[in-house]
């Protein structure tokens, strides 16, 4: 059975990766919004924002990476929705395929697609003057956090992908996720925010994740915030996975 899961997931992963290769615009569209924000904030608003000694592009990039993933998972939900609404889903379900393979194929595709978008965004940031003293280990740590974060949001995206009635319903769910970084330390330090806003900003997942990636890029030691960041990612991942699997089980029985 386990070998079936791996084999079937592999076949379905290659299928949806081929979808992405045939429509690379999904990767480009995913990267365009974060890149536009990067340009806007660095070259327009950046001069008015005081983030201390660091250059603003260095300060901003971690938050932009999270926004990239948040907009990228809309396509994950869309690809699932297309399968469900088009009948391909029912064909697969009536075949002797390992049950989890259908979802895992889409989830792994989402990770590959989002990492590709992230690489594009980082390249643009480098062209805009982003510099890091991060070593190999720090880069691996950033990669690890981004993969965890992508997995968490992807499993969340599975839910509308399976249940949405229309294309609008599929893409709508990601907007709040894209805007969550605005009320965090992603764009400006939280110190200047009014007390209730500041409290929210410092207790929502984006702030510790952004601060941790910033420290890793700056080559500084990651303190307790790194633990909180990973805990948020893992916690979100587990909750999203459980909810998505429950939705899936309801859908297939």
């Amino acid at each position: 059975m386990t070998t079936h899961v791996v084999h079937d997931t592999d076949v379905l992963l290659r299928r949806s990766l081929r979808h992405i290769l045939r429509s690379p615009d999904t990767i480009i569209t995913t990267a365009v919004t974060p890149i536009a924000m990067l340009l806007l904030f660095v070259y327009v608003f950046g001069s008015a924002i005081d983030v201390g000694s660091d250059s603003y592009v260095n300060y901003l990039l971690p938050g932009i990476l999270l926004i990239t993933v948040a907009s990228g998972i809309a396509y994950t939900a869309f690809r699932l929705f297309t399968d469900v609404s088009g009948g391909v889903f029912e064909r697969f379900q009536s075949m002797p395929i390992a049950r989890p393979a259908f979802l895992w194929g889409h989830v792994l595709t989402s990770v590959v697609a989002n990492l590709t978008s992230l690489v594009i965004v980082v390249i643009v940031a480098l062209l805009m003057g982003f510099r890091t003293g991060a070593g190999v280990l720090a880069w691996l740590a950033v990669l690890g956090i981004m993969v965890l974060f992508t997995l968490a949001l992807t499993w969340l995206a599975v839910i509308p992908g399976l249940t949405a009635k229309s294309v609008d319903g599929v893409s709508g769910f990601s907007y709040p996720l894209i805007f969550l970084p605005f009320v965090s330390s992603a764009f400006v330090p939280t110190e200047g925010m009014p007390a209730p806003v500041r409290w929210f900003a410092e207790h929502q997942p984006v702030t510790p994740i952004v601060n941790t990636i910033r420290d890793l890029f700056a080559g500084q030691p990651v303190g307790g915030e790194g633990v909180i960041a990973v805990a948020w990612c893992v916690g979100l991942l587990l909750v999203a996975y459980a909810l998505a699997m429950r939705t899936y089980r309801r859908k297939i029985t």
């Binding site: 299928r15 088009g86 075949m95």
Partner: protein, 259 residues
């Protein structure tokens, strides 16, 4: 008694909320036959097919496909069946050949490429094999859909309204394919709302109405349910279908199959 490759349905019930769709369906499909399930829109034909193909759980009663219970042995049922749903379930972004290879790989067939090529030839799809399915016409799509269902040669095939929305030529092609399948010993449960389709293809015809099978038998048996035949003399006019097929130059062999 059900032979191993047949279908046996006993007292099947299914409701969506308060709306009862199936209210005790009984049906036996013998192995290697084509059985048509006839009914108007909303009669519950698709619900029966979805339960038999393990996509829906019945509320009550039992159903066995190829000797396996659809609820307790769903995995075994899936190994014995193939479903061609109401809407062609094809991957639009992949090419026709890639669709076939995909299904062959998922069914763990030894030579996916070879199987795909053989089906492309058999279904006359070789010319469009390398094109994305998004560019296919409805008839081509349905042909590919049925070709995908035949991979792995499952002993039981469900065809849910296979010709709905097809032009007359594509319809004849689908009929031809279904007849060939039955010739090879495949058990076919075919749902349709077209009476002539059931008459053309099926060994037996069951009528689903108000959640129950109200008639089930061969065409000859069903005809006996009606008052005795009266003889009338009518002038035989060509049907519009005959005219359409004649003027678009359809090949003679298939035209003969229409009445």
């Amino acid at each position: 008694m059900t032979t191993p490759a047949g279908i046996e349905i006993v007292g099947l019930t299914k409701a969506y909320g308060d709306h009862a769709v199936l209210e005790g369906v009984d049906l036996v499909v013998s192995a290697g036959t084509i059985h048509a399930l006839l009914g108007s829109n909303g009669a519950g034909k698709t619900t029966v097919v979805k339960i038999l193909s393990t996509l829906l759980r019945p509320d009550g009663g039992s159903a066995a496909v190829a000797g396996h219970d659809v609820v307790t042995a769903a995995a075994r049922v899936r190994e014995s069946i193939s479903l061609t749903g109401q809407f062609a379930a094809v991957d639009e972004i992949l090419t026709g050949r890639e669709n076939l290879v995909l299904i062959a790989e998922l069914r763990r067939i030894a030579d996916p490429g070879g199987v795909a090529d053989a089906l492309l030839t058999r279904f006359d799809l070789t010319g469009v094999a390398g094109q994305r399915v998004a560019t296919y016409s409805g008839g081509l799509r349905r042909r590919l859909d049925i070709a995908m269902s035949l991979i792995g040669e499952p002993p039981v095939l469900f065809l849910d309204e296979p010709t709905t929305g097809l032009d007359p030529q594509s319809r004849l092609e689908v009929w031809k394919t279904v007849r060939e399948l039955a010739g090879h010993g495949t058990t076919v449960l075919l749902t349709t709302q077209y009476l002539d389709e059931a008459e053309q293809l099926a060994d037996r015809i069951a009528v689903l109405h108000d959640g129950r099978i109200i008639a089930d038998g061969t065409l000859a048996e069903l005809k006996q349910l009606l008052p005795p035949t009266t003889v009338e003399y009518v002038e035989k006019q060509p049907s519009l279908e005959d005219i359409f097929l004649a003027i678009v130059g359809h090949d003679g062999a298939a035209t003969k199959e229409t009445r």
